[in-house]
């Protein structure tokens, strides 16, 4: 075994051409420039920091900015066309996409009467991305250990319902949060049991769990409606970090939010750390990638999967509480409105990685917030199209940037000891 057989690596500094991507970016950039000349002459985009510097606002020349951004996008495309080092491709496409998105944003906010209230919008976007973060993190924990969790929607419903119920019974919002987590966890326990012990098709279980949760919460809602004091709204206080909250932009966005936002950001970091830096994470990833390998090293695959799925339910249940406690709302039938499925998509967009999940959730929260803001400001674009924005953007991001996302190899495959 004297000689190593390492194959040749491609020199990642050698230029390579990317005809298709390059053409797309170049054409889009040129289109932006043309659009700027056609429609944007003399327009301005007003930007305000509406929470800290309440009196100031800046009028940015839309035409010039879109022109520059369009040129930047076109340049990224041109660079790809003439050839760029492999390791710079990501940079170029990120620049292209960022320029594109920013210029559209400037353009959208150049309409009459619209002001880009940076602080409200960003703070709102961060808050709106929370359910996706919790749902997708729950999905990450499940699927990293090899169990498909398509029932996030159901876990949301259980959490939303139980959170309010427990808060009402105990009078404590924190008890409500705990109750939501336990409810989410109880419903994933069924998934865990059926997936590991009875080896039922996990997608089927997920679909059933959604249906069960919908039926159960709606049914219980009707039952409890007959009595008073089971479904009153409770609210989570906003936590303000003293003077930090007065820093422009960062303050209102990061230091003046509800518990959910801090919990969400912390959980992203925590789950990331647990997955990639601890014994538990190593074993969890091994069990999701190659359970037989983990088994052969003495890891009890099905027990680990079981408890991981149960633990993931805590996260999804907490995310469910966002709908009620987080928004100071009472429970309502089917109030999660399909966002559990969006969380599933966010998980895939984030490539089963907590940091990716954060990015995906922020994209979704931000576009949702922008759509609502523009609609409220009386944009000329029909409201329905604005509401489509987050979905359309996700579609474009997935198709254009993410491409093939690879699930953990053993995701959804039940494990029997002795499998190869």
């Amino acid at each position: 075994m004297a000689v190593d057989t390492a194959p040749a690596l491609v020199d990642d500094r050698a230029p390579a051409r990317h005809a298709r991507a390059g053409t797309v970016y170049a054409v889009l950039g040129l289109l932006l420039i043309a659009a700027a000349f056609t429609w944007l002459g003399g327009k301005t985009t007003v930007i305000a920091f509406d929470k800290t510097l309440t009196d100031a606002s800046w009028a940015a020349p839309t035409f010039a900015i879109v022109l520059v951004l369009g040129a930047l996008c076109a340049a990224a495309g041109a660079w790809m066309l003439v050839g760029l080092p492999q390791r710079r491709f990501r940079l170029a496409s990120t620049v292209g996409v960022a320029a594109l998105v920013l210029s559209l944003l400037f353009w959208a906010y150049s309409q009459e009467g619209t002001v880009f209230r940076a602080e409200s919008i960003l703070a709102g976007a961060l808050f709106l991305s929370m359910p996706y973060i919790f749902g997708a993190l729950s999905g990450v924990v499940c699927e990293r250990s090899g169990v498909i969790n398509i029932g996030i929607e159901g876990q949301f419903l259980m959490g939303a319902f139980t959170g309010v119920l427990v808060a009402n019974i105990t009078g404590s919002i924190y008890a409500g949060l705990a109750g939501a987590m336990i409810a989410g966890s109880l419903s994933t326990m069924l998934l865990a049991l059926l997936a590991t012990k009875y080896q039922v098709n996990q997608v089927v279980v997920g679909v059933i769990l959604n249906l069960l949760a919908l039926g159960f919460t709606s049914f219980m809602y009707d039952q409890l409606k007959k009595a008073e004091g089971f479904n009153d709204a409770f609210s989570v206080p906003v936590i303000t970090w003293g003077p930090l909250a007065d820093i422009p932009v960062i303050g209102p966005v990061l230091f003046q939010q509800k518990l959910f936002v801090y919990a969400g950001l912390v959980m992203v970091a925590v789950v990331w750390f647990l997955l990639y830096r601890t014994r538990w994470g190593l074993r969890t990833r091994a069990v999701g990638e190659h359970p037989a390998a983990a088994d052969s090293m003495g890891v009890n695959v099905n027990r680990l999967r079981y408890w991981n799925v149960v633990a993931a339910g805590l996260l999804a249940g907490f995310g469910g509480a966002w709908f009620t406690l987080g928004n100071s709302l009472a429970f309502n039938k089917n109030m999660t409105a399909g966002l559990g499925f969006v969380a599933l998509a966010v998980m895939i967009v984030g490539r089963w990685n907590p940091l990716g999940v954060l990015a995906g959730a922020l994209i979704f929260g931000f576009t949702t917030q922008i759509a609502r803001d523009l609609s409220a400001a009386g944009s000329s674009v029909p409201g329905e199209f604005l509401q489509m924005l987050p979905y359309a953007v996700t579609l474009v991001v997935v198709a254009g940037l993410i491409g093939k996302a690879k699930a953990p190899a053993a995701d959804g495959v039940p494990y029997n000891p002795g499998d190869k």
Partner: protein, 344 residues
Amino acid sequence: ACGDAPTDSGSDNANASFLACMVTDSGGIDDKSFNESAWAGMEAAKAENDDIDVKYKESSNTDDYDPNLQASVDDGCDFIVGVGGLMAANVTTAAQANEGIGFAIVDGSPSDAEGNPVETSNVYSIQFDTAQSAFLAGYVAAAQTQTGTVATWGGMQIPPVTIFMDGFAEGIAKHNEDKGTDVQLLGWDEAAQTGTFLNSFEDAAAGKSTSDTFISQGADILFPVAGPAGIGALTAAEEAGDAVNAIWVDTDGYESTEYGSKLITSAEKGLAQAVQDAVQAAYDDKAGNGTYVGTLANGGVALAPFHDFDAAVSDETKAEVEALTQQIIDGTLVVESPASPAAS
């Protein structure tokens, strides 16, 4: 089919001779909106009269209207109330097929499938000119705003919703005209008939974030016209502190929601009362093919009391509202909306 089992709703009128039934629109019996109000009217009728029993069937969409109406006929109902203008043709058809039974249609009038008016002998029509109460609400909002900006948003762009928004917009315009103010209304452009809609009556979380957006754009009075999703506006107002308040629709929100302290007033629609009256009239065999249009004049629509805001609203404003009410009742002031009963 039901044998000896006790029926739902703790019925004590089990041996009543008159059975009044209601078919809901989508949204269900507990939609905190017109289905729920109509059902409250049904129950009130039963409570008032020992000889009346009531029952309902929920529709999940328009396709359920016909089977639900038919099932109500089969159940031996003596009077069948269809809730929602979309059901008008279905109720009309059922009424024509069952001349022996009385029918009522809420927010609509007898019509054929194409929407053309139809003469019937047994369909009672219940409608409301809520633009009138919304007009007063708009006037009050314009008087009370501190920022000079108020906002409305709807669940969906349908007549029972936009009629409120139209009236609200006109009330603000009236205040601007009479008092020389320049109060801006966000979320609804009456002339263009475009505005902000959630496309949901259930998604209160979206309602809240939409309301937050309006608040960040300077609105300090919110007027959500979206059934339960409208609660989102109230929680948004609550979280925004003392500066932001709201006005409720359909019912007196001071009674029907947990957020009385945030509600300046409500643009009421006396649906429950109208339904109760209709059931009683049917019991008395007096409903027939009459039409009821709730207005400020007959008390079918009204501006709710100011409750906690009684002190905050100036006497001057109260007097002006009083006067405007009188003008509308007199017909000297006409609040027009493309969605008004007269126009539909």
